[in-house]
């Protein structure tokens, strides 16, 4: 799996539609003054992966991730994050979400459903496009390749991919200190996740 692109709109300080494209490997630096929104980008990616704890996203309620307005701008009614990932190893055959026939050696990502693909024409054979939306009403929407899905389906995609909940793939600001102070059995859990 490689990260290809994220599109953010209405999520925290990213009021306007923002797109961020990646090479898939290498070191990319994110820079800017204090308070400009760098950690919010990291929160957007955590959220798209299925983070359910508002506290981990530095809010009191999940609603706090929706753009809350500024002195000159009104709050928005929806937050939306779309993440596009590429699986370069696979040669997927056209499959529906319900009937899954895995080619030998492929993991569950290979069964990405074909369907209504968003504007950038991702490589249908290889890309998986995940969308998460939250409305101020409290309603949530989850899409996998444009098809309605449950949060659980999104979380399942990332199980065992190194992006699961026990993984260290996302180190939030200030969290590096906690990695060493975790208790002996929490540390075991992290090694087990990698196993």
């Amino acid at each position: 799996l490689k990260l290809k692109k994220i599109e953010i709109q209405g999520f925290k300080s990213f009021a306007d539609r923002t797109e961020m494209r990646f090479h898939g490997s290498g070191v990319a630096a994110v820079v800017g003054p204090n308070g400009c929104g760098k950690s919010n980008l990291s929160d957007a990616i955590s959220w798209a992966l299925g983070e359910q704890s508002a506290k981990s996203l530095r809010g009191a309620r999940m609603e706090d991730v929706i753009f809350a307005g500024t002195r000159d701008r009104k709050p928005l009614g929806m937050a939306s994050v779309t993440m596009t990932l590429t699986d370069p190893r696979i040669e997927p055959s056209p499959l529906s979400m319900e009937v899954i026939e895995l080619p030998p050696g492929a993991d569950i990502i290979a069964a990405a459903p074909t369907g209504n693909i968003p504007s950038d024409k991702p490589d249908r054979k290889r890309d998986i496009v995940i969308t998460r939306r939250l409305f101020r009403s409290g309603e949530s929407e989850y899409l996998i390749d444009g098809k309605a899905a449950r949060l659980r389906d999104i979380q399942d995609i990332f199980m065992g991919s190194g992006l699961g909940p026990e993984s260290y793939a996302i180190i939030e600001q200030g969290r590096i200190g906690q990695i060493l102070s975790s208790r002996p059995h929490d540390r075991r859990a992290v090694i087990e996740e990698a196993a």
């Binding site: 990319a28 002195r71 060493l180």
Partner: protein, 165 residues
Amino acid sequence: SRKRFQEAFEHININFREMFKTLFGGGTGEMRLTDESNVGESGIEMVASPPGKRLQNVLLLSGGEKSLTAMALLMAIFKYQPSPFCILDEVDAPLDEANTARLAKLLKEMAGDTQFIVITHAKRTMEAAGTMYGVTMEEPGVSKLVSVKFNAAPIPVSEPKAMAA
């Protein structure tokens, strides 16, 4: 499953010793089972000695030494089980210039399979990056992504093509 844990533990421990030496320029860092006789349920403790210092629990290290040791553990896990990407938010904040440079060099070497996204204020870390994304708030409270050239003012661009630069 207990076998898989044992195997992962040993591989990651070998990586950890190596990463620790790379980041500290020497010294010893390793994980130990709290209960050798009960591998199926034992917890894990960590000991470290930066070059020339005594081996002791990692919690007695300095602020910067702790962060560097934590990064050594992270990279050790990644080498065993790479994630598709890794976001590091200001992990270099407590590091001095020499350690920041060593960490940046290691990230570059580890980035063959993994997309590292490093949020930072440190110039040494920026120098190791192949791509740079600038975040600004020209309009107060509204974030915007711009293309950044090192040693030049950020160039606001019509989104989003410049991001792949």
